[in-house]
Amino acid sequence: MSLPPKHLGSKHIGLTYRLLLRLYPRSFREVYGDDLVRQFDETRNRHGDSPFGNWFRARWSLVRNAVGVRFDLASSALFRTEGKLWARVAADAVTRQSRSPHHTGMDENMSTLPSGFHTFLGNLRHDFSFAVRMLLKNPMFTAAAVLTLALGIGLNAAVFSAVNAMLFRPLPEVRNDKELVHLYRSWPGDMLWGSNSIPHYQDIRDRVEAFDGQVAAWNFVPMSLSADGLSERVMGNMVSANYFDVLGAPPALGRGFLPEEAVDPGAHRVVVLGHSFWQTRFGADPSVVGRTVTLNGQAWTVVGVAREGFKGTMPIIDPPMFAPLMMQHELIPGFDLIEARGNNWMNVFARRAEGVSVEQCRQQLDAHILQLREEFPDHYEESGIYLVPQAEAGIHPAVRSAQVGMSALTMVVVAFLLMIACINVANLFLARAGERRKEMAIRLSLGAKRGRIITQLLTESLLFSVIAGGAGLLLAYWAIGIANSLTLPIDIPMDFDLTLDRAVLLFALALSVLTGVLFGLAPALQASKPEMVSALKGEASLEPGGRNRLVRTLVVAQTALSIVLLISAGLFLRGLQTATSVDKGFDENNLLLASIDPGLQGYDRERAEVFYRELESGLSSLPGVQSVGFARQVPLTLSSSDRGVRIPGYEPGTNENMSIRYNMVTPGYFEAMGTPLLAGRPFLDMDDRDGARVLIVNQQFANRFWPGEDVLGRSVRSNGQDWEVVGVVPTGKYFSLGEEPSDFMYFPQAQDWSFSMTVHIRTAGDPKTLANSVRREVERLDAAMPVADLRTMTNTLGVSLFPARLGGAALGIFGILGMILAAVGIYSVMAYSVSQRTREIGIRVALGADSSSVVAMVIKKGMTMVGVGVVLGAAIALGTSRLMGNLIYGVSAVDPVTFLGVPGMLCAVALVATYLPARRAASVDPMRALRSE
């Protein structure tokens, strides 16, 4: 718009004005448009020349009112009857005074709704718009409080979405998962969750009527896949042919496995692709069905693609491929497991037939096991079948209690944070309610009911918390995005699939409303009963009771809550610290790992032995490599194998666990791991296929079976052979860092063959720099051989520590957040209290109090509250830390470092938070303070 010339013809002015008039709704323009323009002209003519200011103001008024008219229109559309209604009520009030006292005050055609409802709607709308105005009036207050609360609600929503995903959400794309049950073999010694052998699985499928044949088996199996000129090792699923049928999840493309594919071992080379793998690896090409891919060196046909989102029974893992169980020979070369009743390694689940209860299933399984015991006494003498319904299974029953515990702990922690945030907001509202005492008193004296005022204040806090809830959801959305994008450096494709689904949204909404009532109610109750006279006179309340007591209680509660939070976090972090600094039995620095499986490439044992020998010498000659060893398993990766032993001359007690974890290793292994030998010798090249059977045990093993005796030369019977102990190594950590010291044994790979090995390379410098050389070395020997899990040992340990580190980091952050929130709370309460007592402090100063005594007075008041909170919090933390006991590794529940350090830290922070208002109090100018109200 150009600057207006000094003199404008009326037509010209009418033009810009008329253009702006377009902003109004048509219904307005038709009636008032012409008049508006005309009146504008008249005003202008009468006032003569219009300087720029007037010119602009006239147009601005037009724009502003156009918006206003549209707002009026929208709100009267929203509350259609409201506008006329109040007018009628008012008018009727007048009419009633002059006419019959029994007039109802409502027109028959007005509405069929009771008048109370209309009043309610009117009130609501009024309260709502008033609340909006109050919030906008004080934007900083609103922003700070909304942010605090949003943080609390957002964290709760994010954590709930994780817990929901892991514990409560039904299995995706699976038909009625309530009917599913998981079956395990139970063994003496509290071993409830044993795996199943294939013949055992087939017996249950064919003989237990309660399942009507709907029993499926599956396990993860590494597969070597070549397609489109790219070879890689993927962690696939080997499943029984009825897998998709039992889950009620027919593939999205092509077909599942056919009944005949459950019969002939090795006859059907067919695979079904996982949906996301199909998208990423095959570009979502539908013509992939019917194509041939190379799996473990052989040609297989893709027959189908699973449904989107389908993950089987373990929803945190997204399997790339499914292959039939009867192809076990091809998938795991060198092992014959289809007929082996003693080889328990499959996961089994079943669908209850219609009308069959879980209890009936258990009874039938008990009967079935008796039958099996008669048929195969060797295999079933001590073993039973343990049934777990899907709803109680979680990721795996073995980790369920830890999972539930961890989930509960995190939920409690974030709930605490939310409570602290709520208290802060409640304090802010209380402070503001104090400022509004006069307003409340006037309204009450004009006849407003107390209930109305409470409703109005609650409307404010609810509006507030719902806004905060919205912001919190945004925060949660963001946090979930980060959590989902985390990829763990492991072979198995993890997918936590956290979403803000309906359950989470409902949770956040319920939480917002709850917090709104929670922090809104106390201030509302307080504010609605001010001491009328002093409030009307504008005097600050000086007496100590009432509101002040409530504020003090809230500060104490807040301090106590944050102490509990911080102590819990402290204990957890101390536990983590102990766990990571523990002696693992090897040196994880400068160690490079890579997994290889020549068996998957169709090698036989002789070829594989040659391959491994050449690889070892090739790698050893690389510059920067100090030593090279191979092992079947990498310690502390949460995987293990165990086998039963018998020790001549040792009589095991009843239920004593004689199954001991083991590993297969090559002669260079101990040197590469940096594990010293306490006695005897390492494995040597002479410990080959034809040599005498030898093993190495750890100190714990030696102490258990031959305490105080000479160990070397002793004999151990295992796996059908006698093994002679030739060496002893220190006891390390094998399965998890938190485990108790446990027995362990090592067998030479040459005498206890394994195709799949992980090479351990001890390097002089940074192991990462050697990764490419290792890959090239393998390629030189066999270009098609996939190298999997090429990574450093520290990286691998990071993975096993990941859950604990994540938990520790989260708890630590939550604790610090809680402390900051509490400090803010203490600060704002003290600052408010000082501002309220300005007059009193002024009098003190006028009467001769020096600044240090004023500071001391304020600090004493603040720190008394903090002190009570700290003692209370520490007492509660003492109780909760005992509950947390099994989650904390190696730290006493009354760890003095935590129990003294944390309160000390909080007190220091609280001291700063009270000192700042205290200093302000000390600088009060008595003259000004006395003059002010």
Partner: protein, 118 residues
């Protein structure tokens, strides 16, 4: 009664009340309303055209006034007149009662000082 009203709905804004009060004497056009307002309030309340017509529109929406059919002047100078509805009359009366009571209450507590403005 007036007290009950105040909890149901905030009272009319002064300028809305003024518009109703002016129209009680008979229907009037927009410019006339502004002039009358100026006169009654010594120029203290003098809405711009945009503000005035928003108020008229709002009161119209609430059913308190309607544009009148009666027009004066020739084609070029035709103006819309506005008049109170029955409901508008009643609301005006009820608001006046309410304001009068408020004013009386206020003044009765301040007998030590002369009232300057009503």
């Amino acid at each position: 009664m007036a007290r009950r009203l105040s909890t149901n709905r905030p009272p009319l804004k002064p300028v809305e009340f003024l518009v109703l009060a002016i129209l009680e004497n008979g229907s009037l056009h927009g410019y006339g309303i502004v002039q009358e307002m100026n006169a009654r309030t010594d120029g203290r309340v003098s809405p711009r055209p945009g503000d005035l017509y928003r108020i008229l529109y709002r009161l119209d929406q609430w059913g308190l006034l309607v544009p009148d059919d009666r027009r004066t002047g020739d084609d070029e100078e035709r103006r819309s007149y506005y008049r109170l509805t029955d409901l508008g009359q009643k609301v005006l009366l009820s608001e006046a009662t309410f304001l009068a009571k408020m004013a009386a209450d206020t003044l009765s507590k301040r007998t030590d000082r002369p009232a300057e403005v009503v």
